[in-house]
């Protein structure tokens, strides 16, 4: 069984890039749809998976049999936007822990460049410095957030901030989808176009440079794009911890290190993971819900530590 799995994986890795994208993409997309339908069907108003499928299809403009108006409203106005926010935001969350939605953007980009600026002091980029600078900047900004929380004037506001910080997807409307989608889809496309450069840069700056990659420009562009996507995701979903760390690493172990495959698959895999987590978060202590960010951290952190211990050699730094 395990041997069969390994052989399959090995032959997958030997396929051409288009085949790997098509097969991986089809599998993960199917998962996105299945998990998405299940997630849509669960909730205070029980709607069967079949009806959900019809409602979604009719929303997309297909001819479908009749279904109840309430169900349609629940799906179209409440659950669908939420799930789409989940799906598009998922691949990119959990990187920068920052201020409030309005400022999340600017904040994410500023923090990214602050961290990068520290890592290239003296004109020499260092991954170790980048990570340490990330930790330090994160701690500093975390302190600012704590200070803000302590001095918040009223409890209503306090609740809101805490909820957002713990990552939450309730009361997401189409408005949120409209804000985040173009930014996230656009950034992902740009990242994909740079993914071959990223592959070469994984072998070191000199290697990449000698292969014709403009390392400095490319790194800044990659960073800005990733920060933009992350900022957009965090602005609409709050910080959903550990998804951005765990999903790409797990997929890298399975699919290999080629970023041209890894980037789109991480977006899809992240969507599956957060949708599943969100569904669980909604269902376990009905009618209340656990914050999805708490749940992902609860699952993600131990799993990541497990990976680190088990595959010390194979868990590569992003």
């Amino acid at each position: 069984m395990q041997a069969v799995g390994l052989t399959t994986l090995r032959s997958y890795r030997q396929m051409g890039i288009s085949a790997r994208l098509a097969i991986g993409g089809a599998l993960l997309l199917a998962l996105v749809i299945v998990v998405g339908l299940i997630s849509l069907s669960l909730g205070p108003v029980d709607i069967s998976v079949g009806d959900v499928a019809w409602i979604v299809l009719s929303a997309l403009g297909f001819d479908t049999p009749e279904f109840g108006r309430t169900e349609q409203l629940v799906i179209e106005q409440i659950r669908l936007p939420r799930i789409i926010v989940v799906a598009i935001a998922a691949g990119f969350t959990g990187l920068f822990f920052l201020a409030l939605p309005l400022f999340a953007f600017a904040g994410a980009i500023a923090a990214a460049f602050l961290v990068y600026g520290i890592a290239v002091v003296g004109g020499h980029f260092s991954m170790a410095t980048l990570l340490l600078a990330g930790v330090a900047v994160n701690a500093f900004l975390g302190a600012i957030v704590s200070a803000i929380i302590i001095f918040l004037p009223d409890n209503e506001l306090l609740r809101e901030v805490l909820f957002w910080l713990a990552g939450g997807l309730d009361a997401r409307a189409w408005e949120h989808v409209r804000i985040a989608t173009p930014l996230i889809v656009g950034s992902t496309a740009v990242l994909l176009l740079m993914s071959r450069d990223l592959n070469l840069m994984m072998l070191g700056d000199d290697e990449a440079r000698s292969m014709g990659v403009r390392v400095g420009v490319t790194r800044v562009a990659l960073l800005a794009t990733a920060a933009l996507a992350t900022g957009a995701a965090v602005a609409v979903s709050g910080t959903i911890a550990f998804v951005g760390l765990v999903i790409p690493h797990v997929l890298r172990l399975v699919l290999g290190p080629d970023n041209r495959v890894l980037i789109p698959m991480s977006a899809l895999g992240g969507a599956v993971f957060v949708m599943a987590a969100d569904t669980v978060a909604r269902m376990v202590i009905e009618p209340a819900e656990i914050r999805v960010g708490i749940l992902t951290a609860f699952v993600g952190a131990p799993f990541f530590i497990f990976l680190l211990i088990k595959n010390k050699r194979q868990v590569y730094s992003l």
């Binding site: 090995r10 890795r13 030997q14 051409g16 890039i17 288009s18 176009l193 071959r196 592959n199 070469l200 994984m202 072998l203 070191g204 000199d206 290697e207 440079r209 000698s210 292969m211 014709g212 990659v213 403009r214 890298r252 290999g256 290190p257 080629d258 041209r260 050699r313 194979q314 590569y316």
Partner: protein
């Protein structure tokens, strides 16, 4: 920039200097490689051979002087154009990140592919041919971290060949290779050079340097000491002054190649070589052993 109407040299470095902070690593180096020439860089550790190769490839930017590649100023060329015509095999091959040997070799196609292009069958074929030439096909599906030092070194050469360069820079290409592969790999480069490639390689083994190269450039402390045909550069005097080693230079009676016997450190308390060699009584047998 054509000189005297002839086609310009493949590589023409003029008064190239490179330094970091207060330290000068290359001091006004002049060196040329004509099309279809195999040029060797020799010199002691820290002489500046790798630094020169990295400068010629554009990985390092020289602060003074100019590097001309086929008549064009390296610094004014887009990095991609440079990589499409010139490949560098580094002295130490990086190998993290779980890429397979084939994936790495295929990366050599990068400078030839547009941003919206993916590798096609032609690229696969070129990569496979490069792996065949370097005898690395059997490692195709292995990840780089599982390869031995010499195997990995040959995979990196395969990648450079997949780049289909007109100029190939090799930083100690035989440093990790067994004796057979030292001969086959240098033989391969020699053959490609005879077919029109220009190659420059840093090398420590003076016997290999004497045998495979058209010209040698002897570098010490960032400066060119001498250059010329191997028999002009590899004299007991220059070897002693550059490396501090007493040497005998002669024609090998078996291979008829120029051969260098290293007798021992020229002076001081250097670790003495084993008695047998010092006694010099079985010089013939050591020559024919090769």
């Amino acid at each position: 920039m054509t000189m005297n109407g002839d086609s310009p040299a493949s590589v023409d470095a003029r008064a190239v200097s490179f330094g970091v902070e207060a330290k000068t690593l290359l001091d006004s180096v002049d060196m040329r490689a004509e099309r279809g020439q195999f040029v060797g860089l020799i010199g002691p550790n820290g002489a500046g051979k790798s630094t020169l190769l990295r400068t010629l490839s554009g990985v390092l930017r020289n602060q003074e002087g100019t590097v001309w590649l086929e008549g064009a100023d390296l610094q004014s060329m887009p990095a991609r154009d440079v990589a499409a015509m010139l490949a560098l095999v580094p002295q130490i091959a990086p190998y993290t990140q779980g890429f397979t040997a084939f994936e790495l070799v295929l990366m050599g196609r990068y400078p030839h592919l547009g941003r919206f292009q993916v590798e096609g069958e032609t690229d696969d074929r070129i990569a496979k041919a490069a792996m065949r030439l370097t005898e690395t096909e059997e490692f195709e599906t292995r990840t780089l971290d599982t390869l031995s030092g010499g195997e990995r070194q040959r995979v990196f050469l395969a990648r450079a060949l997949a780049q289909q360069p007109r100029i190939l820079l090799l930083d100690e290409p035989t440093s990790n290779l067994d004796v057979l592969h030292q001969l086959t790999i240098l033989g391969l480069v020699r053959k490609l050079v005879d077919e029109g490639l220009t190659a420059i390689a840093a090398i420590h083994d003076l016997n290999l340097a004497a045998r495979y190269f058209d010209r040698l450039v002897l570098i010490s402390e960032g400066r060119v000491l001498t250059e010329g045909r191997p028999e002009e550069v590899l004299t007991p005097e220059t070897i002693e002054s550059a490396f501090g080693v007493r040497a005998a230079v002669y024609r090998d009676p078996v291979t008829d190649a120029l051969a260098i016997s290293l007798i021992g450190p020229a002076q001081g308390d250097g670790v003495a070589p084993p008695d047998r060699a010092a006694a010099g009584q079985n010089g013939m047998s050591s020559a024919s052993r090769r």
